[in-house]
Subunit: 330 residues, 2 copies
């Protein structure tokens, strides 16, 4: 790809398929200017946060494709995005950058340990990004960074011990213990890939992963597979269930049961004060939160039932977390 | 009960039904002398730890019975046991006491929040014991104290992040995070009362609790219910399974599957470096550890499989933990 093609590609800002409007994120508060990148398998969110903490040039662009390990094309793309942000805002000089990515992340070592849809294994993303950007880079897991943002700015503010779940295409989680992220070398919080049944086999290789049954993506896929009708996302399946469609009802009911089992495990073992739920499915509102609260309470006994609260930062939690992490470096 | 009857009752040291020999515990190391009590629903272990850290007069006596809340009879009994230990060892003057109890325990507030088989609710056990003994009292949950002892002296020594499981009559657990107990106000670690299936209903009121299927007590009970034959504990059921008894095989297989599901949840979400397993079932050795390791590895994929290691302190971990906690006060 030439750099002209590349720039055109980046300019093609993707619409969020969930319909979420990507307007300005909340401020992260005053501090030094920082760059922030939230990298996913499909797209990258990028922005320059100014001294007031406002996101300038926030947008979503496609993650560049490559066979196998996408480290090199990603790092190059971050450089192009940074240069564009700098060119558009010459008076805002970033002093650090925050980079957050999915998968298994060893934040201390700066490594992307594993990410099925980005192809890397033990990729030294932090140091590569720092070299490309010429800035110190704070590096973290996307959902842990999002949970950090929810803890500092959003739905988890009131809780020192909480679990943040993002239920979208997949299901990702992050634990906060004593007000700090609990990482276990990057392996903690894989709630989407915790088993809740004997099947089906998940692309990750494990059996019965929660996200095969209960993610927004799985709910839509299961309905399509059962009926041949492609629903307009999980929210459409939930609406069909509410309208009496028996197939939609069974799928939504089994998804709620699977989520309840996972939340019950979390409640019994980790006992967070709150479980903060974001991602596409959280937009189901009471159909999700009231049902989960009732089923969890019915399922358990002496346990301390956590507050189930919606995430507040929506799709911007990851990039806000990246900016917060970068601020800690600068 | 008169105090003469009471003394006779205490002198009737109970044999451990698992056949475990209650010889001297390991030393807890040099320090000030302390009293230690590990209270269960059936019996109390008591000892006086001397300046070398050796347990003097270690024995197991029945927990006194009472209708409803057993706080008052327990506190009185602790006083009698302390007086006996003091009379037998007049030169060893304890400077503090450690008291550990089962159930939901708020260690910071000194409260026994709930214990189904001891009948209390929000009982101020720490302060009552301190008043009765005339000593500062360190108060904790029995399995958290046991896990602390395993971390300091036993099988969890090498691991900052670990989960200790005690699989006996029930299943209890405790989490260590960053080398410190993780308590969540006393609600964490209730792995035995985490759901793994839709049933059966547990005496705790929840459905499908792990300990209804996979504790040593449940394995023996399930075999008896299925065959009318009372086995000599879970180890007898495991031996019958190994010898080809199809009922025993099905029960042991389903217990292993249930344990695997819980350990897989723990691995995905908490990702401890090690899971330390004690209690009666841990004496099954390879029949337990090798099977769990193989099933857990087969069940998961990219996850970090924890080391599965036997507890080293056996039935004495609780009282050793109580002594360690008392030493921290003195």
């Amino acid at each position: 790809m030439t750099s002209a093609e590349d720039a055109a590609h980046i300019a093609d800002v993707v619409r969020d398929p969930s319909g979420e409007t990507l307007v300005a994120a909340r401020t992260v508060g005053p501090g030094v200017p920082v760059l922030a990148f939230d990298v996913g398998g499909t797209d990258i969110k990028s922005a320059l946060f100014d001294a007031d903490g406002t996101a300038l040039g926030l947008r979503r662009t496609p993650t560049p494709a490559a066979d196998g390990d996408r480290t090199a094309v990603l790092i190059d793309r971050l450089g192009v995005l940074a240069a564009e942000l700098q060119a558009d805002h010459p008076d805002v000089i970033p002093r650090a950058a925050g980079l957050v990515v999915p998968g298994i992340v060893d934040a201390d070592a700066g490594l992307g340990v594993f990410a099925s849809n980005l192809g890397w294994k033990n990729s030294p993303l932090r140091d590569l990004a720092a070299a490309r950007l010429g800035l110190p880079v704070a590096f973290d897991h996307d959902v842990r960074a999002a949970s950090w943002a929810e803890h500092r700015l959003g739905g988890a503010r009131a809780y020192a011990n909480s679990v943040v779940l993002v239920i979208g295409t997949g299901i990702a989680g992050a634990l906060l213990v004593g007000g700090e992220p609990y990482t276990a070398g990057g392996y903690a919080g894989e709630i989407g890939h915790s088993p809740i049944a004997d099947g089906p086999v998940c692309p990750c290789g494990a059996r019965g992963c929660l996200e095969m049954v209960a993610s927004a993506g799985a709910i839509a896929r299961r309905y399509r597979d059962a009926t041949g009708i492609a629903p307009d996302g999980a929210k459409d399946v939930i609406a069909r269930a509410a309208a009496g469609d028996p197939v939609a009802s069974e799928i939504w009911d089994s998804a709620l049961d699977a989520l309840t089992l996972s939340l019950a495990q979390l409640t019994a073992v980790v006992a967070p004060e709150a479980i903060v739920i974001g991602g596409g499915l959280s937009r189901a509102g009471g159909a999700l939160f009231d049902e989960l609260r009732a089923r969890l309470t019915a399922r358990l006994s002496f346990h301390r039932i956590p507050a189930l609260v919606p995430a507040e930062l929506s799709g911007n939690a990851g990039i806000l977390g990246a900016a917060l992490r970068a601020r800690e470096l600068a």
